[in-house]
Amino acid sequence: MVGGVVTGPPVHAAEDAVAAEVPPGSRVSLTVNGVRRTVTIDNRTSLLDLLREHFGLTGSKKGCNAGACGACTVLVDGRRVNSCLTLAVRLEGAEVTTIEGLAKGDRLHPLQQAFIDQDAFQCGFCTPGQIVSGVGCIQEGHTGSAEEIREWMSGNLCRCGCYVKIERAVEQAAGRK
C-alpha cells in the first residue's frame, strides 16, 4: 500500500496542461432527468453551471453560489445536494434529478401541486430548490411534525418569507394533510 506509483493519465499530464495555460478539462457522462449526457468540461464547472449553461436547464437557481441558500438544490443519486458546491467532473455515472424532472408529462409532482395549493411562493426564485429539497425531505422521512419539517428544510432560504406555507406544502405532499 505504501509508495505506489499511479499509472495512466492523472496528475502529471494534466499539470502540463496547466503550464500551457489551457484550463484542464475532463469528459464526464451522467444522467440528467433520465437522459444520458456526455460532455467535456472545464474541471471548474459546477453541476449548477453545467445544468444551466450547458444543458439549458435553468430551473435550478444560482442564489449565493456558496452553499448557503439552497436555491440550487438537486438530487444526485436520490440525495438532495447543493449543485453549486458540486464539481460536475466528479459525477461520472451519477443520476441527477432537477426541478424539470419531477413532473410526469403534464402531471405535476405532488409537491409541485402542493406548492400551488398552499400558495407557497411569491417571487418564485427559491421555489425550485425548495421543491427539490422538499422531495428529499419527504423521502428521508423527516416530516413527522411541522417543527421537524422546518428544521430539515432549513437549508433553503426564502427571502419573501413563505416559510409557513412551504412547510404546509411539504406536509400536504407527505400525506400529513
Binding site: 505506489g4 484542464p24 472545464d42 452553499g67 428529499g136 432549513s154 433553503n156
Partner: protein, 326 residues
C-alpha cells in the same frame, strides 16, 4: 477559481501516491470548493477520494466505535450504532449545516473544515492563516464571532465544527494513513492551536489521509448530549456550544466528558469542569459550580466578551438536561 487537474483515485495506493506528489484530496468538497471559488484555496490538482473503501461504521473490539472517514454526516447521524452509543455525536451532526450539506460532507472532511472567519475568507483582508505574515484583520476588526480560548497574537479564528467538539469531549482519535504508514493521534493533538503558525491547522504529514475517527468505549450507562447556541435557530454556526457525556453509578458521577465549541481556535476540552463533576452527586448547584469554570483562561476581544458568560450558561444547561438531578 484557479484551474486544477482532476483525478479520481481508484484505490488507497493511487490516492496516497497522488497525495505525496502534492495532489489535494477532495471528499464531500463543501468547504474546499467554496474556498476555491473565493481563491482562498488554490490547489493545482485535486485527487477525488470519494470511492475509497472508507465508508463503514463498526463497533471496535473494545466496544468503541470506528466511523470511516468517508461516511457522510447524514449517514453517521442516522446510523443506529452511533445513535445508540453516542447521542451527543448525532445531535452535533444534526445541528450542523443543512440537510443538503450533510448529504455531501464527510466525517473526515468535517474535521478538516476551515474556519468561517470572514477575514480568512476575504482575500483582500490581512490574514495570517491564509497569508502568513500579513497580519490579522480580526484583532482590530469585527470579531463578535471569534474565539476567546486558544487564541494568539496571530489568529483568533474559531474551529467551526460541531462534530469535532463532540468527538473531543469523548477523547476520540483520528486514524491516518500516509506514505510512511498508519498512525493514530488523539483528535485534540491532531487539530493545532494557531500559535505563531495559524496556517498550520492539522498535524498532517504530506500525503496523509484520514481513514477513520475512533471513539473509545466509555463506561455504561452513559448519558450524553449537545447544545448549540446561535444567532438563528437552524443552519448557523455556533456562538457557543457544549458537548457533555456523563456516567453516573450509585448516584455518583464516575465519569464526565465536557467540551465546548464556538469559543476556541480548536474544539475546547474543559478538564476543570470535568474534575469538578467527578465523584460528586448530581444537583443543580453542582452543574452551576462546575460550569462556572467553563471560560477559565478566556481572552475576550472587542466584540465577543459575551461569549464567556454565554459559554458558562451553555455548559450549565447541557449538564442539567443530560445529568438531571436524580
Amino acid at each position: 477559481m484557479h484551474p486544477f487537474t482532476y483525478t479520481k483515485a481508484a484505490d488507497m495506493r493511487e490516492a496516497l501516491s497522488a497525495g505525496r506528489r502534492g495532489g489535494r484530496y477532495i471528499a464531500g468538497g463543501t468547504t474546499l470548493v467554496d474556498l476555491m471559488r473565493e481563491t482562498v484555496e488554490r490547489p493545482g490538482s485535486l485527487v477525488d477520494i470519494s470511492t475509497l473503501p472508507l465508508r463503514e461504521v463498526t463497533v471496535t473490539e473494545r466496544g468503541g466505535l470506528r466511523i470511516g472517514a468517508l461516511v457522510s454526516m447524514a449517514e453517521a447521524g442516522a446510523h443506529p450504532k452511533v445513535r445508540a452509543l453516542y447521542p451527543v455525536i448525532c445531535e452535533a451532526l444534526e445541528l450542523s449545516a443543512s440537510a443538503q450539506l450533510r448529504n455531501m460532507a464527510t466525517i473526515g472532511g468535517n474535521i478538516m473544515q476551515r474556519t468561517r472567519c470572514t477575514y480568512f475568507r476575504d482575500v483582500t483582508a490581512a490574514c495570517n492563516k491564509r497569508d502568513p505574515g500579513s497580519g490579522c484583520a480580526a484583532l482590530q476588526g469585527y470579531n463578535r464571532n471569534h474565539a476567546i480560548l486558544g487564541t494568539s497574537d496571530s489568529c483568533v479564528a474559531t474551529h467551526p465544527s460541531d462534530l469535532a467538539v463532540a468527538l473531543a469531549a469523548l477523547d476520540s482519535t483520528v486514524r491516518l494513513l500516509g506514505p510512511d504508514g498508519e498512525r493514530t493521534l488523539p483528535l485534540v493533538d491532531f487539530l493545532l492551536k494557531p500559535g505563531s503558525t495559524p496556517n498550520r491547522e492539522q498535524a498532517l504529514r504530506k500525503g496523509e489521509l484520514i481513514t477513520a475517527v475512533e471513539i473509545p468505549a466509555l463506561p455504561r450507562p452513559l448519558k450524553s448530549g449537545y447544545l448549540k447556541v446561535r444567532d438563528r435557530q437552524s443552519y448557523e454556526f455556533a456562538l457557543t456550544s457544549a458537548a457533555v457525556a456523563l456516567h453516573v453509578r450509585g448516584g455518583v458521577i464516575r465519569e464526565a466528558k465536557v467540551a465546548a465549541g464556538g469559543v476556541g481556535t480548536v474544539p475546547w476540552k474543559l478538564p476543570t469542569v470535568e474534575r469538578h463533576l467527578i465523584g460528586e452527586r448530581p444537583s443543580h448547584r453542582l452543574w452551576a459550580e462546575a460550569a462556572e469554570h467553563a471560560a477559565d483562561g478566556a481572552h475576550p476581544l472587542t466584540h465577543n466578551g459575551f461569549k464567556a458568560e454565554l459559554l458558562k450558561r451553555t455548559v450549565e444547561r447541557r449538564l442539567r438536561t443530560v445529568g438531571g438531578t436524580a
